[in-house]
Amino acid sequence: MRKIIHLLVIAVLATVFIGSICNSCTEIGNCSLDGRALMYCNIYTIDPSTKEVIKDTIDTLTITALETDSIILNQDTKVTSLSLPLRYTKDTTIFVLRYNYSTKNNEMDTLYIVHKNASYFISMDCGYSMEQSITSAKKGKSTRKTQKFQLDSVAIKNTDANTDGTQNLQLFYKYRG
């Protein structure tokens, strides 16, 4: 009888001890998908004489979006690429790209992005991720035909907004010679 009691005590202690170790092992969650997925864009121009695609640089750029006061990019200089958030609650996001924001001379382009949004449950520890897929992208009319930087066309390279910097859009600007 004493043997049984001792064995029971050992078994319970061992079970609780090892169980707590096991629980602590499995509590380590992998939340590496954390962080807002973004739409990554690179800026190009095409030399009309050689048809060569060349990386372009915008001197100064400010980006805002419709229906928010937030400034997404604030007078960044020497811009060659962009990482832009897409809206969670609507399937269209409209960006306004201003080239001389400080002088208020109203040189800007508009970029229309249509996308699908889907919340994806990861785990109780990590919560959700928002999966956003671009279905179309187009540019609006430039405010001035004489402006230095003029968005000419947009090409989709990859539809899924991501956290690893994979290029989604190519923004082609008019060649400036």
């Binding site: 001792h6 029971l8 170790i21 096991c22 629980n23 092992c25 919340s119 994806y120």
Partner: protein, 260 residues
């Protein structure tokens, strides 16, 4: 990964220490009766001739108590399990394990509700008794392998809140748009999933009274494949635990040796 391996190694080490440091004194206590002069003691035969052990040595049935016990101690998961074990030459133990698992959990401060209704799972496999050559056939230290499968449905829903000042719903507090504001509701019920996995088993089992045995086992579980819902990963998988590439499990069983 290194942390898990380290933790697992610690648990194995602790298990072995418990097994080899605490069990021998007990065994000594049990066998102690009256000193017998050495010359009168029968010659000890520590090993048994395998040819004398019959191929079929009996059948065991058992229940796992760890699934219930861990829930009482605070785990989000609850499970119950029965198993049938055949003893072949006291060496191999083909095993089938049938269980039910469920969870109904609210996330702390997140408003996430995850639910799996009671769902069956099955494991089949075999254990190898490393003490089969010993004369003492009441104690078992074994290693084994299991294949597990379950098919289940899971619900993930998110509590929403009404903001009386701004007069709007916050549908998902865990996923607000920090630029435009607002969130979208998340309510997906009845998502279907299934999973295959295998387990490496290390365990001990000992006779406690007549036909009754008791034992525990430590299990490293590895996902083989899974089919999951379109709107989210499962969080709890019956019989496997948390949905991840690998996990650690524990069983604590009471076992009865059938009299045939």
């Amino acid at each position: 990964m290194e942390h898990k391996i380290y933790s697992f190694s610690i648990s194995i080490a602790v298990s072995l220490v418990l097994l080899f440091c605490i069990a021998p004194p007990l065994a000594a206590q049990e066998s102690y009766t009256k000193p017998v002069p050495k010359r009168e003691q029968p010659r000890k035969v520590p090993f048994v001739n395998p040819d004398t052990i019959p191929f079929y040595k009996g059948m065991y049935v058992g229940v796992d108590l760890y699934g219930l016990g861990s829930h009482i101690l605070g785990s989000d998961f609850i499970s119950g399990e029965v198993r049938a074990i055949a003893n072949l030459k006291n060496k191999f133990f083909p095993t089938i394990e049938l269980g039910m698992g469920k969870t109904n959990t609210w996330g702390d401060d997140t408003g996430i509700h995850y639910k799996v209704s009671p769902t069956p799972y099955i494991r089949i496999g075999i254990d190898y008794n490393t003490m089969h050559k010993k004369k003492d056939q009441d104690n078992f230290v074994y290693v084994g392998l299991r294949y597990g499968f379950t098919s289940f449905k899971y619900d993930v829903t998110q509590a929403s809140f009404y903001d009386p000042i701004w007069k709007e719903y916050i549908y998902n507090t865990e996923q607000k748009d920090d630029i435009w504001g607002g969130s979208i509701p998340y309510n997906h019920t009845g998502m279907k999933a299934s999973m295959h996995w295998f387990e490496l088993v290390f365990g001990v089992k000992t006779k406690i009274y007549k036909n009754f045995c008791m034992g525990w086992s430590l299990r490293m579980k590895y996902k083989i494949s899974a089919s999951i819902g379109n709107y989210g990963d499962p969080w709890y998988v019956p019989g496997y635990g948390k949905y991840q590439a690998h996990s650690v499990g524990l069983t604590y069983s009471l076992i009865y040796k059938l009299p045939f």
